[in-house]
Symmetry: C2
Subunit: 151 residues, 2 copies
């Protein structure tokens, strides 16, 4: 059926719809509408439009069930989040990735388990760590080019 969807861009409003689908796995438009009527104060027509657009761009699947559709996600939340996070890291110098992660950690509440898990990951990352991360910025968009081998 239709071509493979590589990575449709999901907008803010559409994301609200996706969250409902991800959380419930299989939903009717009615359920999505009522959830977002409450949370977002959206008119039902708005949610209908968004469902339509998401189906159109391949983010949602539909199965006919009598007169209605059952909507289900065609892309995983994890994937969608990943492509979103990658956008950030494409906006900054690679050398700063560590700083940004640092600031994210500082800004958020973590559980003991989270911390332990992250410590383990970091331990493993040591095997692949580099002395200095490569700046991949274009000339003129980053000052690494000027003073990178300080020390």
């Amino acid at each position: 059926m239709s071509t493979i969807v590589v990575n449709p861009h999901i907008t803010d409003a559409e994301w609200e719809v996706m969250r409902v689908v991800w959380a419930n796995i299989r939903v009717t438009s009615k359920e999505v509408i009522s959830t977002l009527e409450e949370k977002m104060d959206w008119n039902q027509a708005t949610t209908k439009t968004l469902l339509g657009r998401l189906v159109e761009k391949g983010a949602l699947n539909t199965e006919q069930e009598g007169r209605k559709y059952i909507y289900s996600a065609n892309i995983e939340e994890k994937e969608a989040v990943r492509s979103f996070t990658n956008d950030i890291f494409d906006r900054i110098c690679r050398k700063n990735v560590g700083n940004v992660i640092e600031s994210i950690i500082k800004d958020h509440t973590l559980s003991f388990d989270d911390i332990q898990r992250l410590e383990e990951i970091l331990e493993m990352k040591k095997a692949f760590a580099v002395e200095e991360v490569d700046c991949q910025c274009a000339e003129g968009q980053c000052d690494c080019h000027l003073h990178h081998h300080g020390e």
Copy 2:
């Protein structure tokens, strides 16, 4: 001069311009134009438009210098990045913040210094860690509500 700019939304295209300004601190339109002509293959008019929009929304300052302007950033890169990253974490369940950080770390190259710094931060975070992070999702947008005290 003008009202305080809280947090202008910077689009993808505008971000390219900001990076040039951030990297160079004080630039003329000519420098921005030539950098982006190369990297983005943009017509000079395109860069001019973006510079204008950024000034308009308060992200850039201008100082007259003879006939030209000197552009400088009015918002820090760090702040801009932070507001961008926060957008992500507003799209997911708080309980998953740790997982997302995990996946970010896995996906990127870090230096030994980065890792050590992150380890220190994590160590400090232990003092503020919680047993379980609070889900703040709206009903229907997250399945924590269903099976959160598994164990």
